[in-house]
C-alpha cells in the first residue's frame, strides 16, 4: 500500500479524553509518552480535546507536556458520540496532517480510533503497551501483546499517515506537572448541529464503583483459576479486606459471576502497578500477566510448582489456596488484635 506525501505529516497528537473537565489519567500518560517520542523526532506535541465547558483543561494539558492544545468546545459534543467526535478529528487531521496520533485504549478510545483510522484510510494498532521511534526510519514502532503465551508483536505503519495507535491505560508514565511551561491554545470551530446527528443519547447511568478503582489501588489480591468455588472466592475477599487491598481477577471468576468485569486484570482488562500484588491460584499466563507484570512486589500462591507466575514473582508459595489463604487470614487477624 503506497501513500501520499507522507513527509508532509509532522507532529504528534494526543487525543485527550475528558470527563467533567478533568482529563483521563491515560491521556496524561500519553502526553508524557508522546513528549518523549516527539523529542526524538524533533516534533511538536498537540493535545486535542473535545467537550463542553472545558476551557480550563487547556492550561493543564500544556503543563503536562503539550506545545499546543486544540479545543473543540460546543454543547453538541458535551457527551461522547462516535461519529460527531470522529467528524471533528478527521476534519482537523486532514488539514493539520499529524504524523502520529495517540489515543487511550479505554472503551471510548477503542470505539473512536478505528472509526477515525478507517476514514483516514490509515493503520491503527490497538492496545499497545510500548511505543518507540525506529532510529533508522523514524517510524513509530508499536508493541502489543498477542494471543498466546508471552507473544509480542511490533507493528509499524510505513506508508500511510497518521500512524495511529491506542495505548493501554497504566503502561506509560505521565510527566510531572510544570506550570511554567508555555503553549498555544487553538479553538476549533464545531459546525455540527444536533439536528444532523444520527445517534441520540437517551440516557446515561453512572454507577458508583465498589471501592477504589483497581488501577489506583496500592495493594491487589487477584483471584485465578485455582480458586475453584465461591467459598474460596469469599476467602480471597476476606484476605483482601484484612490487607486493605482491592480484589482483582483473571477471566474465570468474572465468567462465574463472582466479581464484576471492572475487576479484570490483563489483556482484556485493567493494567495495574500496585505496591503489592498477591496472585491466588493465578497461573501467570500472558492474558493476565500483561496487566500486572509491573507490580512492585509479586506474591504467588499456586499448587503447580511449574506455573508461569513463579518465573516473575518475588515470593512464591507452592500450595493450595484453600489451605494457605485461611492460614494467612488467621495470622493477620491475630496481628490486628
Amino acid at each position: 500500500m503506497s501513500g501520499a506525501n507522507i513527509r508532509e505529516y509532522k507532529g504528534l497528537w494526543v487525543f485527550v479524553e475528558q470527563r467533567d473537565g478533568q482529563p483521563a489519567r491515560v491521556s496524561l500518560e500519553l502526553l508524557g509518552a508522546g513528549r518523549a517520542l516527539a523529542d526524538k523526532l524533533d516534533a511538536q506535541v498537540t493535545a486535542f480535546v473535545i467537550g463542553n465547558g472545558i476551557a480550563e483543561i487547556a492550561r493543564d494539558l500544556i503543563s503536562y507536556g503539550a506545545d499546543t492544545v486544540m479545543v473543540a468546545d460546543d454543547p453538541v459534543v458535551k457527551e461522547y458520540r462516535t461519529e460527531v467526535y470522529a467528524d471533528i478529528i478527521v476534519e482537523q487531521a486532514l488539514s493539520g496532517k499529524p504524523e502520529i496520533v495517540l489515543i487511550g485504549a479505554t472503551w471510548f478510545g477503542r470505539d473512536l480510533a478505528p472509526r477515525v483510522a478507517a476514514r483516514l484510510r490509515t493503520g491503527c494498532t490497538a492496545d499497545c503497551t510500548e511505543l518507540a521511534i525506529d532510529t533508522d526510519t523514524g517510524l513509530l514502532v508499536a508493541t502489543k501483546p498477542y494471543f498466546g503465551r508471552n507473544l509480542m508483536a511490533d507493528i509499524i505503519c510505513p506508508f500511510r499517515r497518521p500512524q495511529m495507535v491506542t495505548v493501554r491505560p497504566g503502561v506509560m508514565e505521565s510527566k510531572a506537572q510544570d506550570r511554567a511551561r508555555h503553549g498555544e491554545i487553538i479553538l476549533v470551530v464545531v459546525n455540527i448541529k444536533e439536528l444532523d446527528t444520527r445517534v441520540k443519547i437517551i440516557e446515561t447511568v453512572r454507577s458508583a464503583s465498589e471501592g477504589v478503582p483497581l488501577d489506583e489501588a496500592e495493594k491487589v489480591v487477584a483471584c485465578g483459576m485455582g480458586v475453584v468455588d465461591e467459598q474460596g472466592f469469599e476467602a480471597v475477599r476476606e484476605l483482601s479486606d484484612l490487607l486493605g487491598a482491592q480484589v482483582g481477577a483473571t477471566s474465570l471468576p468474572i465468567d462465574e459471576g463472582w466479581i464484576s468485569e471492572d475487576r479484570k486484570i490483563g489483556q482484556t482488562g485493567k493494567t495495574i502497578k500496585p505496591k503489592l500484588y498477591i496472585g491466588c491460584g493465578v497461573s501467570g499466563a500472558i492474558q493476565h500477566s500483561a496487566g500486572m507484570i509491573n507490580s512492585e512486589c509479586i506474591v504467588a500462591i499456586n499448587t503447580n510448582p511449574k506455573a508461569e507466575i513463579f518465573n516473575f514473582a518475588d515470593y512464591g508459595i507452592v500450595g493450595d489456596v484453600k489451605e494457605v489463604i485461611p492460614a494467612l487470614i488467621k495470622q493477620l487477624r491475630t496481628l490486628k488484635e
Binding site: M1, T82, E83, F108, R110, D111, P114, R115, A118, R121, G123, C124, A126, D127, Y146, F147, G148, N150, L151, M152, A153, I155, I156, C157, R160, R198, V199, K200, I201, I202, E203, T204, V205, R206, S207, L243, E261, D262, Q267, T268, I286, I293, C297, V299, A300, N311, F312, A313, D314, Y315, G316, I317, V324, P326, A327, L328, K330, Q331, L332, L335
Partner: protein, 262 residues
Amino acid sequence: MHTIVFIKQVPATSEIKWDPKTGTLMREGAEGVLNLADKHALEAALQLQEQLGGHSTAVSMGPPQAEEALREALAMGVDRAILLSDKAFAGADTLSTAYTLSLAAKKIGSFDLILCGKESSDGMTAQVGPQVAEFLGLPQLTRTREITIQDALVRIKQKIEDGFRILEAPLPAVITVEREINRPRIPTMDTIMEAYRSKEVTVWSAGDLEGDPELLGLAGSPTQSRAVYTREVKKGEVTMLEGEPDEVAGKLIQALQLKGLL
C-alpha cells in the same frame, strides 16, 4: 428484518504459528474454532429474528477451512452462509478486513442490521466492527448489552467505564455485542447434521466483490507486523517460601512486614 452477522474462525489456543517472513498468523493447518464472542452476535441475530421475523446471513472471511465456522452458524440457525475466500484476502489487517466485509455487505444488498462480536480472541483489536460501519457510512453502536428494535430505530444499552448509556440510532446500523448480552444456544445433533447435509456455504472470491483490488489483503493493509517474538518474563530470583500452610503464612507476613507492606 435481515441481519448480517460477521464471524471469524480463530486458532485454538495451542495452535498458534507465525510466518517469520511476513509476520502474519499462519492459519493453514492450524485447528480453528468459531470465535466465542461471535456466537453471542449470532445468538442476538437469531433472537431478533424470533421476535420480529425475517432472516439472517452469516459471513466470514478466511481460508477454505473457515467454512467450519459457517457450518456452526448454520447449525445455530442462520438461514444463509457466505465464505469470502481468496488468496488475495490473505494477510489483511483490520482496515483491509473491514473493507472486504463491507464489500460483501454491499453485494448482499438489503439488510437492516449488521452484528459483530466484541472482538476476536486472536487479534483482540475490536476494530473491525467500527471500521465496517465507517466503510458503509452507518452508525456504530459498540459494547452492546441489550438491543430493542422499533419502527426502523434501534435502541441499545451500551456498557461504559462506570455504568451504561441508552443510545438510539436509525437502521441500518452496525452493532458489536458484549458477552453479557445473551447465552448462545448450543446446536443439537439434528441441526448440526442438517447444517452439513442440506445447507450450503456460498463461496465468494475477490472477483465476486466489486471493489478496489489494491485495498485487499496484505497489499491493502497499512499496518505490518515487523516482528513477532516471545518475551522472557523474568524479574529476578523468586524467593520460595516452604513448609506447612501456617508456616508459609508466617514467613510471608514477616517478609511483607520487612518491606513495609503491612
